[in-house]
Structure formats: structure tokens, C-alpha cells
Amino acid sequence: MLEVQELACLKGDRLLFRDLAFRLQAGGLLRVAGPNGVGKTSLLRLVTGLALPEAGEVRWRGHPIRREREAFHGELLYLGHAPALNDLLTPLENLRFACAAAGDGVDAQACVDALVRIGLANQLDLPARVLSQGQRRRVGLARLFLSASRPLWVLDEPFTALDVHAVADLAATLSEHCEAGGMVMLTTHQDAPFRRPPQVLDVGAFAC
């Protein structure tokens, strides 16, 4: 379903990796591993289409994503390293904007439910600037509960700044998504309690 062929990534004038290839089938959970600076985030950005590869191709359902950008982005949920929160808006306003901007018709009550479920029931009306790092991360992650209809989730360090309980909760959510036929691709440096051991892609093996 998601297929990456002979991908090469150039950062500045340094070649990060080349000939990188993998395949992610429905129900698959792929963990991108490797030391800092090896190009994990760059790989995720290439897969989402935010950056263009130096060589190679990313294919979704057999079509190159460059040619079918809109259809691909309708099936993709990408949560980057920055949680995409505006400090002047409340978590609820941020979440509603994120869903509306992505084109998901999600009503206010569903957004409130998602925030309550992720443990922000008491912070719904506070401006995002007073939230802690972990709470900010949770606001971004609340979108996962509202995006079950998007098959491909690409998550950059989703476990950063979360407490043990939240990590277990998130791992369960990701496992459920995979069991329902979705696909998850993520980077992380910590071990999370997934129900099935994830497929591991070591970017370091393709480094130049």
C-alpha cells in the first residue's frame, strides 16, 4: 500500500541516505529507528510529500504521491515534531481548527470528547501558552481519535514528553488503528508497549 523505492535525501549539500526502500501493508506498524541526525524526520517528511526526494519515489496505493497529492493527503494524518498549536487559542479551538483545516467535518462535541479522553478535561478553556510540554503534545495527539478514517498515520516522536500512563494509552490507540486495517509509521527512541512487535526500519543502514 505505502511503497518507497530507492529514496535518497539531500540535506544542504550532504547526502543523508540513499537507496532506502520499504513497503508498509495494511495493518502494519513501522518504527523508523536510527541515531540522532541520521534523517528520520527527513524520511517522514519525504513520505508525507512535504519535502521532495533527491531520487526515488513514494507510492501510495500504487500511484506516485506527487501526481495524486490531494487524494493522498486526504488519507494521511501527519503529526510533526512541532505540535501545531497557537498559544493564543485554547486547546479546543486549536483542535477544531486542525480538523477543519484538514477538511474533516468534526463537530465541537467530538473535539471535546477527544480532549477529555486524552486527559485535558480541565484545560479546555485555557490558552495553550499555559500548558506544559506534555499537555501540548496531547492536544496534537487528540487528533488521532478524530482521524480513524485516515488510514495512514505518520507520527514524529509521538511519545516525547508523555508520562508512562499516556504512553501506554497511545500505544494501545496505535495498535487498535493497525488492527482495524490502518497503517502507522513513527519515530521514537523509547520502547512502547505495542500489542504486536513493530516492523523496524533502521535508517542508519542506508546512511552515506
Partner: protein, 222 residues
């Protein structure tokens, strides 16, 4: 369809309201720049009357430039821009929403207080409607052209200065026809030609600038 457009428009207007101090700073800047001229060139009414259209237009242009660098900077820093680029709608559409919200929160207030500042410089009252009309047609062009510059200089060191160097030369035709419209009205030749040219410029900028801006944003976030 257009869900991203309206989401961005609503959010940016809400943010402008929450951060209304920034809007007031822009307006105060406009007022102060206009007030500086009588101190510099002397309070001779005939002289002030003669330079009033140009002064008001330059001040409006600088006020617009002052807030332009904020257009994408916050969204770029917090990752919202990436999310918007991943939306299903063409980027040119929500770029238009951002520019529209920007113009409503910075351009429109300047247009609204410009007649007051014109009276301060003793501009003849017959020129006021044309002044407001020329600003109303011209400031959206400034916002659209400026958005392209803001997108190109996004994330660069010293981007603010570079932005000014990049877009000020592009603002020159707008300045010529904007200030020229008021002068033409006062000299009796009629401002219609100038206003039509400004309108044409606005139509052209509306059609092309969002596309250029979207392309520049993709390059900046790559």
C-alpha cells in the same frame, strides 16, 4: 469544499482580535509617520496640502510593511503551516484566506483612519473619497505582493530587512497610481484612469500572487 479557506479565515481573524495590540501598534505607526512630516517640512499649509496624498500613501505602505513579516512567521514556527500544506485544498486558496484576514486586520483600519489624517494635513475635502477608494483598492495589492515576499523570506536570518528590500520596489507602481489618483482628482483631470489601473492591478494580483505565494511556501518548508 472551501472548509480550509473558512477555517483559516475565521482563525486568523480570531487571532487578530486576541492580539489586537499588534493592530493598534500598526495604526499608531501610521499616525506617527504622518505626524512627522509637518515637523520635518514645516507647517506651511500649502506645502502640506501639496504633499498630503504622497505622505498618506507612503505611511500606509510602511504600516503594511511593518506587519507583513508576521503573516506566516508564527504558523511556520509552530508547525501549523505544515498541516495546512497537507490539507486537501490547493494552497493558493487558504493563502488567499490568510491574506484576506491580514488585510481586514491591518489594511482596513488604515483605510478607515486615513481621512482623519488627511484632514490633519489639510487635504482638500474633495479629494477624500478618492483617497479612501485608492487606498481600499491599493492596500490589498500591497498585502498580496507582500505575502509573496513574506513566504520567500520565511525562516531566513534577517528576513524582515530582506522582505523590505524585496517588496518595496514592487510597491512603487501602486504608490504612483494611488497617490496620483488623489492628485489627479484635485487638479481636475479626474481620477478614474488611476483607479481603473489600481483595480486592474488588484485583479491581477488576486489571480497570480496566491499561486506564487503557495509555491514559495512549499520551497520555504522543504
Amino acid at each position: 469544499m472551501l472548509s480550509t479557506f473558512f477555517a483559516v479565515l475565521r482563525r486568523d481573524l480570531l487571532l487578530a482580535w486576541r492580539g489586537r495590540a499588534d493592530v493598534l501598534v500598526t495604526l499608531a505607526f501610521f499616525v506617527i509617520v504622518v505626524c512627522l512630516f509637518p515637523f520635518g517640512v514645516g507647517a506651511e499649509p500649502n506645502q502640506l496640502r501639496a504633499i498630503a496624498p504622497g505622505v498618506l500613501w507612503v505611511a500606509a505602505l510602511l504600516a503594511c510593511l511593518l506587519s507583513l513579516h508576521r503573516l506566516f512567521a508564527q504558523d511556520y514556527a509552530d508547525g501549523t503551516l505544515e498541516q495546512l500544506l497537507l490539507s486537501r485544498e490547493p494552497a493558493a486558496l487558504w493563502v488567499m484566506a490568510k491574506v484576506l484576514a491580514f488585510w481586514i486586520s491591518t489594511g482596513l483600519p488604515v483605510v478607515a483612519i486615513a481621512p482623519g489624517m488627511a484632514l490633519l494635513l489639510d487635504l482638500e475635502q474633495g479629494g477624500l473619497p478618492v483617497l479612501v477608494l485608492s487606498l481600499a483598492l491599493g492596500t490589498p495589492i500591497l498585502a498580496l505582493l507582500g505575502a509573496v515576499g513574506a513566504a520567500l523570506t520565511l525562516g531566513l536570518r534577517g528576513g524582515g530587512m530582506l522582505l523590505a528590500l524585496l517588496v518595496l520596489p514592487l510597491f512603487v507602481p501602486v504608490l504612483i497610481f494611488g497617490a496620483g489618483a488623489v492628485e489627479a482628482e484635485l487638479s481636475g483631470t479626474g481620477a478614474i484612469a488611476h483607479l481603473l489601473l489600481l483595480g486592474g492591478g488588484l485583479a491581477g494580483a488576486l489571480a497570480l500572487a496566491p499561486l506564487a505565494c503557495a509555491a514559495a511556501l512549499r520551497i520555504s518548508t522543504d
